[in-house]
């Protein structure tokens, strides 16, 4: 073997994967007869041995324990964020579907609406007040829950729907908007003619302030309410609508 061949075959000695034992023998035999190549072979072996020692030593080292804690904490945070994100999206999707159905329902009702003379309207007390352009002081109610333990709801559906119901008397029952009695908020001043009813949305928890039961599963959902606003802009009474 020549020195140039030795250089080419040297990797056979140093490579861990080499299985060509015959060529390895030739390389080692040449190194025994050539001082320069023997030195080179020794350098290669020393390098391989150093690699082994460095590798073995580093493999014994471990990262500090707080690294693992930081990583696991990051995992928990990431997972919580992902869950919250997906939960938020499902909530938005549900709200969007509900809103779409609501708009579709309103559109359907408006398309089938046929105005009727006012005299043929319902005989609801609020309608009579609205037709007269004034509102009479409502009776001060006792919350139904206090008297009977059960809510007492009263019809308060929109005029269009009520007209249709009156036309189709005896027909199928159509879902109506139901409401509690008006509850006085401000006893200081009487409810005067010229007061207005304003439809608002309130947190469902507001019902509890008037002694009404609140479903805690739906506590974060708003509830509709009609508020009688005096001519001075002060709320006089309220009723909750469903």
């Amino acid at each position: 073997m020549k020195c140039s061949e030795f250089e080419n075959q040297l990797s056979l000695v140093t490579e861990l994967e080499s299985n060509d034992f015959a060529d390895r023998e030739d390389v080692i035999k040449h190194a025994a007869s050539c001082r320069s190549c023997a030195t080179h072979l020794q350098e290669e072996r020393s390098l391989s041995r150093s690699f082994g020692e460095i590798g073995a030593h580093i493999r014994q080292l471990s990262p500090s324990l707080d690294v693992e804690q930081r990583i696991m904490k990051a995992f928990d945070l990431e997972h919580q964020t992902t869950q919250r994100y997906s939960r938020g999206w499902s909530r938005y999707a549900t709200a969007a579907i509900a809103a779409t159905l609501f708009v579709a329902g309103i559109s359907f009702a408006l398309l089938h609406h046929q105005p009727q003379p006012a005299s043929q309207g319902s005989n609801s007390r609020d309608d009579r007040l609205a037709a007269a352009g004034e509102i009479e002081p409502p009776r001060v109610p006792v919350p139904a829950t206090l008297s009977t333990g059960k809510l007492k709801w009263r019809a308060g559906a929109p005029r269009s729907m009520r007209n249709k119901i009156s036309r189709d008397a005896g027909a199928l029952e159509v879902p109506r908007e139901i409401a509690t009695d008006f509850i006085r908020i401000n006893y200081a001043t009487p409810i005067e003619p010229g007061s207005q009813i304003v439809r608002v949305q309130l947190p469902r928890s507001a019902m509890s302030q008037f002694g009404l039961p609140v479903n805690m599963d739906r506590a974060d959902q708003p509830v509709k309410a009609d508020v009688i606003m005096g001519i001075d802009g002060v709320a006089q009474a309220i009723r909750f609508v469903q």
């Binding site: 990797s11 290669e44 990051a74 992902t82």
Partner: protein, 195 residues
């Protein structure tokens, strides 16, 4: 499906125990790779943290047919290491730990010489250009096969082999200079051998 792949699937579903198990199986290897490449313990810990954090975000994109999980993790770690080396140039900071696992049969002077050689090799490895250093780290220090290294480095096996061969020659040249071998003689040997 191997165990690592199953763990990856569980991690995608947010399984904390699976993530912890995968960490326990691979953290030493990732840490060692980062330590060899950076030469700095703090940097290696940072790289390891970034690697496993990156795994959380890229676990769903893991393709078992392309590479095993270990190579996938080393690929993430490599990306982080290269990013650090590119911007921070901390690779000349050396590992504080001492090599103390020499055979007891060697004499004190032999141990001292070996320690010097090992330290020189470690410094020389850290001074190699990055693409030579990483093949030395993977194939020599972490004892990976050429095929495994080629998956991590995303290059052909032949490239790994040639880079490693060249890296060894560069290291020997550096060590000759460090240990005071006659420069002209070293240059002559270098010319003869590597031409």
């Amino acid at each position: 499906m191997d165990q690592d792949h199953q763990l990856i699937k569980l991690i995608c579903d947010g399984d904390r125990d699976a993530f912890s198990a995968l960490y326990q199986r691979h953290h030493r290897s990732i840490f060692a790779y980062a330590l060899h490449m950076s030469g700095d313990r703090q940097a290696a810990e940072d790289v390891m943290q970034e690697t496993f954090t990156g795994l959380m975000q890229s676990a769903k994109s893991y393709d078992a047919e392309r590479a095993p999980v270990h190579a996938f993790l080393l690929g993430i770690a490599r990306h982080q290491v290269l990013r650090r080396l590119r911007y921070e140039y901390r690779h000349l900071t050396l590992v504080d730990a001492e090599v103390d696992s020499l055979p007891a049969s060697e004499s004190t002077s032999q141990i001292t010489i070996r320690n010097e050689i090992v330290e020189s090799v470690r410094k020389s490895v850290l001074s190699l250009p990055t693409h030579y250093r990483e093949v030395v780290v993977l194939c020599e220090l972490q004892e990976m096969s050429y095929e495994e290294a080629s998956r991590v480095l995303a290059c052909p096996v032949g490239t790994v082999r040639s880079r490693l061969n060249r890296a060894r020659k560069m290291l020997i040249e550096k060590l000759r200079l460090v240990h005071g071998e006659d420069a002209p003689e070293a240059a002559q040997r270098s010319e003869r051998c590597y031409a």
